[in-house]
Amino acid sequence: MLFVEFRFFWFFLAVFAVYWSLRENRTRKIWLLACSYFFYACWNWKFLFLIVASSALDYFVGAMLARTDDPGKRRGWLILSLTANLGTIAFFKYYNFFVTSAAALLAWLGLHPSLHTLNIIIPVGVSFYTFHSMSYTIDVYRRKLEPVRSPIDLACFIGFFPQMVAGPIVRASQFLPQLRSVRRFADVDARGALVLFLTGFIKKACIADALAPFVDRYFDAPWNFTAGSAWVAVLFYAIQIYCDFSGYTDMAIATAALLGYQLPVNFRFPYFAANISDFWHRWHISLSTWLRDYLYIALGGNRGPAWFVYRNIMITMLLGGLWHGGAWTFVIWGGLHGLALVVHRAWSGKRKTLPEAREMEGRALSRPYDAGAVAPGSMRDATAGVPPVGPRTFAGWLAWLVTIYWVCFAWIFFRAIDLPHAVPALRSFVFLSSGGSEDLGVWMLWIVAALGFVHWLNSRATFSTWWRRPSAPVFAAGYGCAFAIVLLFIPPHYAPFIYFQF
């Protein structure tokens, strides 16, 4: 079930109506849990046991961690939880990758062992809900969080349907306190949530899905296309993946908000980043902060000499790339971003940071920041505290251009079916040379420019408040009309969310 499907509207209508008609917080949570499991079962009920098992194990581990102060035992319980959760991901997502990579390596060494791959279905959202689950046990282990008493609470946190399959990756410390208090509809910013849902719907259904056929056509056989087409396809993909993922996140945040829960902000105009570390402050924030807090810092963070910090950044980014799937293209993508972060860090250390860049830059991956925090209060605060985006000086423009070029360059690896498919796309994108003659239509770059302009206006908060001015009946009528018009502009077929596969 996708957020953009008709059946989701019926599903959510039922969830919403029953949820707010229930008085007891516990009953509400049981209802939410039942609905969340139903939501997941609509994709494949057989994999529900994984979520239930993960929740049960981590509830048990949390309880055992609370019972003992023995560091050895505590570490043992943590290792059990991490092994189970990471083992699940490793088996479903990486088994075939490791086997084929090992076979290739052994063949290169002249050995030919008989290694078999398995026909494995990857459970939707496995990387997301296991990360939710792990954040709980790690925080309990670090004594940052009290273990939950009610297994319903933990199951609800891990399985909460708006964020279960594609994030944002919510921390237990952010979500569990919300489950403990009774939500009041009076506190819900319904108008903000509805507008955010519509925005996400437009991003996903009208933009990402409309661009998908062009991108798919190019990346299926990049050698057939002209160099201009490579630019069109890569820029379209940059827009597609942003609109797809941030659109999903917007709808997830809005859906949760309508039920009285707040999820963290996941994107803050990433393509207006001044540099690569600023980019990671704005792109998939919940993942980058998760990796920072649970991996980068665990590796030693930036407490050491430069090479030590660079090593930690590279390991974090390579594993971050691998998190997306078992393929070398993802590892290279992570490596390219890691390399860029290392270069940027070295550059920033040796030279005075460009004033423009410094103004726009968020805090880097290695520095503490609050982007992953729960959006305070309501949708209207989603962009609060974010400095104005976009370059203003020549140096700022230059920094932005280098950043966006590198990000797009790396997207080629992310999107390519495999490395042989990536090479011709890279050649066309970098050297503007291609033997292909098919043309996607360079004129379509105006779509990139138009969407970029709208996005820039949005970053200036141009659209952020005017819809709050009309009275409620006028807003309701306008919302109904707007939705009817938006449906006109979506492709007649739905494409799955890109991040579902991760």
Binding site: A472, P473, A477, G478, C481, L488, F489, P492
Partner: protein, 337 residues
Amino acid sequence: MTKVSKNGLYVVIALAAFLATSGLIHSLVPPIIPKGVAAKLKFFAGHKDEFDTLLVGTSSIYYSVSPEIFDRITRENGLPTRTFNFGIDAMHPPENFYVLDQILKTQPRNLKWVFLETANIETKLHKVLGTERAVYWHDWPRTALTLRKALNPRGDANWVIQISRLWLARRDLATHLTLFAQRFCNVGRATEILFPQNREVDADLELGPRRDGYRLAGNAMTPEDAASFQKRLDEEIAHARPKPLDPAADGVYRSYATRLREIGAVPLFVVPPLIFQSPVSFGQSSPGPLFPFNDARTYPMLFDPKVRIDDAHLTREGAEEFTRLLAQEFVRRARQP
């Protein structure tokens, strides 16, 4: 007014605005007709008065009836016709009725004979055809027809049984209602207008080399497939029992027969040489002449694996033979008082 009722009122206002806007757009923006159907409809609209005979059906008609041969035989037998093959891949009832409606909307002046492939209402959709192909014909009459079939397949269920079938038929109901909603809400109509390259139609391919709607499907089956086909055919013959059309389909065929007669055309019902061997019949009297070719004992030449591609399609030789038989039978029946 309490807060709950106020919020309820806002929901009603939003829904009303949504439905009103969708309805308005629905009446202004043309529907998306899928490629194959659009090519034939467009061509027919431009040449509607040139044809007096139409064949409407699935790929079993599309790839199996050559208008050129049909017209030659009717001409040789003193009953000249000018035929257009309106067969479309997987166009089962009720989609065929929607297309027939579009054909009749063009008001063809010289239409005399309309062959309708005769089959039950299909509630299952062919996923390979894609969403666009499923959406366009889901107006309310066609949707209601599929829902009726899904809830009451034999036409004899009382309301209690129909309610109990809600659960059994839930997937069909959800699918068809969603497609109806998609059509009513105009999903993607503007996209199709803004990006017309998505709808480029290879009219030459769809209309066939002689632009009469007929084209060849492929080659004869392999010896292994032929053996399997023969085995299944024998089983079908052994288990053949008369099977009346489902009441929903029966009723609609009758109503279209009436409509066709009103514009001066004669409805003719044809069952192509499918492997399915049970004789098809209308519930009571037939609303028009029925041409059942799914009979291997009467037409063994159409069931020889050498002239078959699969269970439903014929090779060039098979198609030519079927066309000859259909034309001869048509002439014979047309001359009967």
